[in-house]
């Protein structure tokens, strides 16, 4: 049987018949090949060794599908891997669910599947189960993807907001705003878009190294939607402690700052797809930073602030570059739509 001759997805590709079979066997399986998936069972059977299991899911609706530094496929794999990794899990396997609009070009689908396969391989996870649905034109915008992921716990590692104490350090593994502004500027057709590159990356490897080789990591979260502002606000309100951040220590690329200024966005609220915020006890911070800086995804790692005691409502404060003070809040109102 040859690969599908159709250049575009038809409704029948999701109908469960011959075309569905063709799509799965010829377009999807070869790109994601692994023993579990190849069985095409109704469920995947996984062997794992830890006592507890981590489980997460996320859906991806980014527009445009292809952006500088990534695409919806890479995003769908990295996003779920990162959700597992920051929770202190070693990512094991993902599911992949595609909802495709009738008329979607096979060329684009192949490109996305290539990217999914490659990203999964680079991050040492298998796509072990999946589903494909098609909907009539207009039912979705081109393609939506859901991935769920499972991971096993790393021995001796237990992260939680309840572990935070005043004087703990707040660390980020690199520059902020890259993903959101890359996608937004591409969408708006801004001239400087080519300079901007999404930071979309799987953090499983780096975080695994950190958790296995340093003590004192108390909590981690990936700073995705709502950006650094949302992540810090969640950490502060969840731990009932204040956080104090120094603006001068936050890594920001000048081209990204320029794009944020032009579009009128507060860069602290812009989504990232390859950045985590870690809360680390002070005596471990230097080791933590050292490991990060030796890894390609952590070269610009910076200690941006610290946890402090709170007497009233937990607050995140920013010491601005000029020495002024202001608060950082959970972003509200118009989040940038369809950024991930």
């Amino acid at each position: 049987m040859k690969a599908a001759k159709n250049k575009k997805i038809l409704l029948a590709h999701g109908g469960g018949g011959r075309l569905t079979e063709q799509l799965i066997r010829h377009n999807i399986l070869p790109k994601l090949r692994n023993d579990v998936l190849a069985k095409l069972g109704d469920s995947a059977k996984l062997d794992f060794h830890s006592e507890s299991l981590f489980f997460t899911t996320d859906s991806y609706v980014v527009k445009p599908l292809f952006f500088n530094g990534g695409d919806i496929g890479k995003l769908a794999v990295c996003g779920t891997i990162n959700d597992l990794a920051v929770a202190g899990a070693r990512p094991l396997a993902l599911s992949l669910s595609l909802i495709i609009e009738e008329g979607f070009e096979f060329a684009k689908l192949d490109k996305i599947l290539d990217s999914i396969g490659q990203t999964a391989k680079e991050n040492n996870v298998d796509i072990v189960t999946g589903d494909t649905k098609t909907v009539e034109a207009g039912g979705v915008d081109e393609i939506f993807i859901n991935t769920a992921g499972v991971g096993e716990s790393i021995e001796g590692v237990e992260l939680g907001l309840d572990k935070l104490e005043a004087t703990d350090k707040v660390i980020i593994n690199g520059s902020i705003g890259d993903h959101g502004l890359s996608v937004m500027s591409q969408r708006e057709g801004l001239e400087f878009q080519t300079e901007l590159l999404s930071d979309c990356a799987g953090l499983g490897g780096l975080i695994g190294q950190l958790l296995e080789n340093t003590d004192g990591v108390k909590f981690m979260r990936d700073a995705t939607r709502g950006g650094l502002a949302a992540t810090l606000s969640e950490i502060s309100s969840g731990s009932k402690l204040n956080i104090e951040i120094h603006e001068k220590n936050i890594p920001i690329k000048p081209s990204v700052q320029a794009a944020a200024d032009m579009l009128g966005f507060d860069i602290l609220t812009i989504a990232n797809e390859g950045k985590f915020v870690a809360i680390v006890k002070p005596e471990s911070a230097d080791d933590f930073v050292k490991i990060c800086k030796a890894h390609p995804l952590g070269k610009e790692t910076s200690i941006i602030g610290k946890v402090t005691e709170s007497s009233g409502e937990p607050t995140v404060r920013l010491i601005t570059k000029i020495g002024g003070k202001r608060i950082i809040q959970m972003p509200y109102g118009r989040e940038l739509p369809r950024i991930c």
């Binding site: 010491i319 000029i322 003070k325 202001r326 608060i327 509200y332």
Partner: protein, 361 residues
């Protein structure tokens, strides 16, 4: 940079101490407002120096009558409303453009050019561009009016509420708030108009006017220059944004404005009707004037109940003094435009300063 800031701070502290009274400096530009809050500039100034956010945010100064007209047009059949993003969330009595979006044709545009393109792409629709903004955005509207005229685009209209900043400053000082000691004048308006437009404020009202850019250092040095003048009992026009602003401004942009528009009387939120304060399309371009073409009379409109945006804009109250602030009026569900626009005084206060003011009160 920190040295320059420290030096400016010393000048400010010394002047404020010498003056020994409350000093009110008003900025009349939303970009200044945002930069002041975002950089925590208020927190490094002496207690007797107060920064007031004046009528400098285009969405905020737009009177309710205009908002109501915009919402009414959006309901009409065959109309397509093209607007800058912030305007879609300004509410009238029965919702905003955003809440109407499901049953009306509303398109957010990033430029006036995009609005004209919409008209070309939708010949069966009457495309109305919500033309708001100060002297900075007026030339861009003028350019598309010129294009529409040359290309004979019959379905393109603008609902002009382009504003002139100086008449509002005059109205403020002469009628609403004579406690303003000086103005921090907007850099980007001045790029177009030239800094000379503010000389009448200095001459007629003896208030220092300092044109500054939007970087925190430029704002702080602008405030320092103002404080120095006040302490020396001087009132001068000074630009500390000389790299970009000239005395005479951008002649080509001014010509574009003059070609299409003339200043006429217009309404402002909080300030009422001000003579020669609003750009109206000239007679020869009246076919593009939505007010004229559709027989609309501009009216002041009725502010929403309890909303004190008008007083905020005049520097008469600070946002937390409004009972709605942070309770029934928040950025998620704004009642007044100063909470809608990211450049609005209420939104900036809420976002960057709210808890600090809670703690100090």
């Amino acid at each position: 940079m920190l040295e320059r800031i420290y030096k400016a701070q010393q000048i400010i502290d010394k002047a404020c101490k010498q003056l020994g009274r409350k000093i009110n400096i008003m900025e009349v530009c939303g970009t200044h407002t945002v930069s002041i809050f975002r950089n925590g500039i208020r927190s490094i100034l002496p207690a007797n120096l107060k920064l007031l956010s004046g009528p400098g945010c285009p969405v905020c100064v737009t009177h309710q009558g205009y908002i109501d007209t915009m919402l009414e047009l959006a309901k009409r059949e065959d109309f397509l409303i093209a607007t800058y993003g912030d305007m879609i969330r300004v509410p009238g009595e029965n919702g905003s453009l955003e809440s109407m979006q499901t049953n009306a044709q509303i398109k957010v545009v990033l430029s006036s050019e995009d609005a004209l393109e919409l008209a070309k792409d939708n010949p069966d629709k009457k495309v109305v561009f919500i033309a708001v903004g100060f002297e900075t955005t007026t030339p861009a509207t003028a350019v598309v009016i010129d294009e529409a005229s040359q290309q004979n685009i019959a379905n393109f209209f603008i609902l002009s509420n382009h504003k002139l900043v100086v008449p509002a400053m005059r109205a403020l000082l002469s009628e609403k708030n004579n406690k303003i000691d000086a103005f921090l004048c907007p850099g980007h308006v001045s790029v177009i108009t030239g800094s000379d437009i503010f000389s009448e404020i200095v001459e007629d009202f003896s208030r220092p006017c300092v044109v500054a850019g939007f970087e925190p250092i430029q704002i702080i040095e602008g405030i320092a220059e103002i404080c120095k003048q006040l302490a020396e009992e001087k009132a001068e026009l000074k630009s500390i944004y000389n790299a970009v602003v000239t005395e005479k401004g951008n002649a080509a942009a001014q010509r574009m404005i003059c070609e299409c528009f003339e200043p006429s009387a217009g309404y402002w939120r909080g300030l009422g009707k001000i003579d020669k304060s609003t750009y109206q399309l000239k007679e020869k371009y009246s076919q593009f004037d939505a007010f004229k073409h559709f027989g609309i009379t501009d009216v002041p409109g009725k502010e929403r109940s309890g909303c004190r945006c008008g007083e905020v804009l005049c520097g008469l109250i600070e946002p937390p003094e409004c009972k709605l602030f942070g309770t029934s009026c928040t950025p998620d569900e704004p009642i007044g435009p100063c909470m809608v626009s990211s450049e609005g005084a209420c939104a900036a206060w809420y976002k960057y300063n709210r808890k600090e003011s809670d703690e100090s009160s």
